[in-house]
């Protein structure tokens, strides 16, 4: 095992970006400057109290430390006007903080009319953003200077959507819809094609795209982090995704179009692999044979499985289709029925593509005699 100390020799991007302040990540939404202002305001008040108080304490500590047995200079028991003054005086500042904080908060609560609406579905452990017209993607893509409203629901436990750069956070409670909004003010940058090509080449063979390593999305955009902030189980810390802010609505539309269905030049198996990574399958189903929350996809096609109900099933096209639409109907023995239904979220072609992908990573090529 590598001793952790060597990490210190690795350059630590403590202030990765020169635009970062000491306390905060980049200000990338209309709320950010407001929140940072309130924060700084409270910070300065706190320092204005803390430093003199502690200086006074340390001074007293040195000045009045006496030999044992020395009597104290004073035995004053109280001074009501003084005490009232320091009880009531700071309260004025508290009222000020409260009012400032609440005004900003109300702004953050009320989405303006005609906001761009994105549906968000949170699940253990991933995100699906719904761009309408059947386009789903784990990344959040929005437009600069356009108020964006998120309508969020959870299929299992409580999650919380948190974008530090936007200073925005909201819990997602199962059984109800929660909303949040923000207006991004900084657009993502596009990295050069060579860099993207290089990264793509590097990541070939590894499963999925390493956002932290490349610091841009597979489409070549720099991004802002989106975290799940409410503890939700095993892979809570991996429930992250990227927020990409496009310069214009046209750019976003083009991106949506490119992601809404399988491009002409892609084979179903390739598209299936993309869906596998994008739609959260990879969170629970490995493609290398290791056992996660659900059965691994490696060699699963055309294999035999015992079900929790005691029956046996051969994994064929129909079983895969059924398991995507109604996952709890036939659960493989040894696993919990926790998968959400993808009914209505994947087109026929999508499901076909996933089946093709599963076929491609299975060595059981012999089609079972299901018919």
């Amino acid at each position: 095992m590598i001793p952790a100390l060597t990490n210190l020799t690795r350059p630590m991007p403590f202030l990765a970006d020169v635009e970062d302040s000491f306390w905060f990540p980049k200000q990338a939404s209309s709320f950010a400057s407001e929140v940072d202002w309130v924060y700084d305001f409270i910070l300065y008040i706190c320092i204005a109290f803390f430093v003199p108080m502690m200086a006074f304490m340390v001074w007293t500590m040195f000045k009045y430390t006496k030999k044992k047995g020395t009597k104290a200079e004073s035995q004053v028991t109280h001074n009501t006007p003084l005490e009232l003054a320091w009880s009531i005086g700071p309260s004025v500042l508290l009222v000020w903080m409260f009012v400032q904080g609440s005004i900003s908060y109300l702004d953050m609560r009320t989405p303006p009319e005609g906001s761009y609406d994105v549906g968000v579905q949170a699940f253990k452990w991933g995100w699906t953003m719904d761009y309408g017209s059947g386009t789903f993607h784990p990344e959040l893509h929005i437009v600069k200077d356009e108020p964006t409203k998120l309508s969020m629901r959870s299929t299992d436990v409580i999650h919380s959507l948190y974008i530090p750069a936007f200073r925005a956070k909201k819990d997602i409670v199962p059984g109800r819809y929660n909303y949040m909004w923000f207006k991004p003010t900084v657009a993502s940058e596009k990295v050069s094609d060579e860099e993207l090509a290089k990264a793509k080449k590097q990541s070939e063979g590894s499963d999925g795209w390493d956002y932290d390593k490349y610091q841009f999305t597979p489409d070549g955009y720099t991004f802002f982090d989106l975290y799940c902030a409410e503890y939700c189980g095993t892979n809570h810390s991996e429930m992250q995704t990227a927020v990409v802010v496009h310069e214009t609505q046209e750019e976003l539309d083009a991106w949506i179009k490119a992601n809404s269905s399988r491009p002409e030049d892609q084979t179903p198996a390739e598209w299936g692999q993309l869906l596998y990574n994008r739609r959260g399958c990879s969170g629970c189903h490995s493609n290398d044979g290791s056992k996660l929350v659900g059965p691994s996809f490696k060699d699963v096609y055309a294999s035999q499985h015992a079900l929790a109900s005691g029956d046996n099933v051969v994994v064929d096209d129909n079983y895969i289709r059924e398991s995507i639409i109604a996952p709890k109907a036939k659960v493989v023995a040894g696993y919990q029925p926790v998968m959400p239904s993808y009914k209505g979220q994947l087109s026929d072609d999508d499901i076909e593509s996933i089946i093709a992908y599963l076929k491609s990573i299975s060595s059981n090529t012999a089609a079972p005699a299901a018919e």
Binding site: G119, G175, Y177, G344, D348
Partner: protein
Amino acid sequence: MATIDSHSSESETHDEHGHDHDHPAWLAHHFDTPEQQFDSGKLGIWLFLTTEILFFSGMFCAYAMFRMLRPEVFEGCSQFLNTKLGAINTGVLLFSSLTMAWAVRCAQTEEYKKLVVMIASTLSCAMVFLGVKSIEYSHKWGMGLLPPGSYFYDEANPHPTAQQIVDQHGFSESTAYFLTHSLYYLCAPFALLLIGVFAWLVWAKVTDNKFQYACAKPLLVVCLSFFGGVGLGMVLESGGGEHTVAHVDGDHGAADAGHGHADHEHAEDAHAAETHAAAPALDVESDDVAMELLAESDLNTGAKAMLEAKQAQTAMASGQVVPPGVEADMGIATVEKDVQTKRQAGVFFGIYYCMTGVHAIHILAGIGVLVWLLIRAIRHDFNRQYFGPVDYVGLYWHLVDLIWIYLFPLLYLIR
């Protein structure tokens, strides 16, 4: 009292105190006067009662919240509770409060015989209450009126056999057997208790142990009272059951006639729901039903929009084309607000079992301390200066009664 260290020093402290009054055996060594001891106990028990009230207040809050969220479920489901049995139990508990208060008085006036009688009657009332309660519980369990996780009530067949429970509702055979025979399981511990007390009585008589005989005699009556309660409950529940059935039958025609009428009465509502149970409207996937119900709630203003979006997606995924601007009517307006779907009705029974169950546990605890009091009373432990324990248990008992006095109207009466 006789712990190792307190014993050795007790005499010491007294000597060194130089109290001019004697330190009687019932006065704990760290108290100076009987008044101090009594006041401490009194304040202690009142604080304890405060914690009890707060303990129950959590459930009362839950009740209020869900009643506010789903009033129709609460109205509908309280119909299943037998008001007669509830009223009988209320009366029984009120009477037991009277005997308990009387017992405190007897302890103060040192009327030992009467004190024993009063405590024993309080105990008997508690047992009658539990007897009636076990009839209520077992009856509901057999019908499947359970919390949402296991609710399986079906109006077409309200009293399924164990085999039907296994086949139709997917319970294991042992659970099904328990549900259909729950009365036996509830009575069994009390029957064992009865046999034990009877054996004790006989043994005390044989060995001529006067004190034990004096203890066992009232306890036997107390145990018998449980079965008195069960008998009483059985008579009333069967009558009540018929009554309910008759009620629904009587409404049958009215329900048919009034179907679709905006102003349903509750029984009709329940009945109408039953009629719909067979209708395909309920074959919609349960997730969708839940979401549709969500969409109807005022708390989820955006749910409707999301629901439409989801339905549109479903339609598109299955190859249908929904022209933009046309709302897909997947039946938000037409799905019956079904009081008796598992999720809906179970919430009421979940709260019902929590509240009455925790209350019953308090009755059981009360029975425990009352038995202890009974034995001490027979031992003539109490006198006009030392009657604290009777007083404190009395206060506890009144609180348990009081909670029932709130539970009865909230669960049984308000409709």
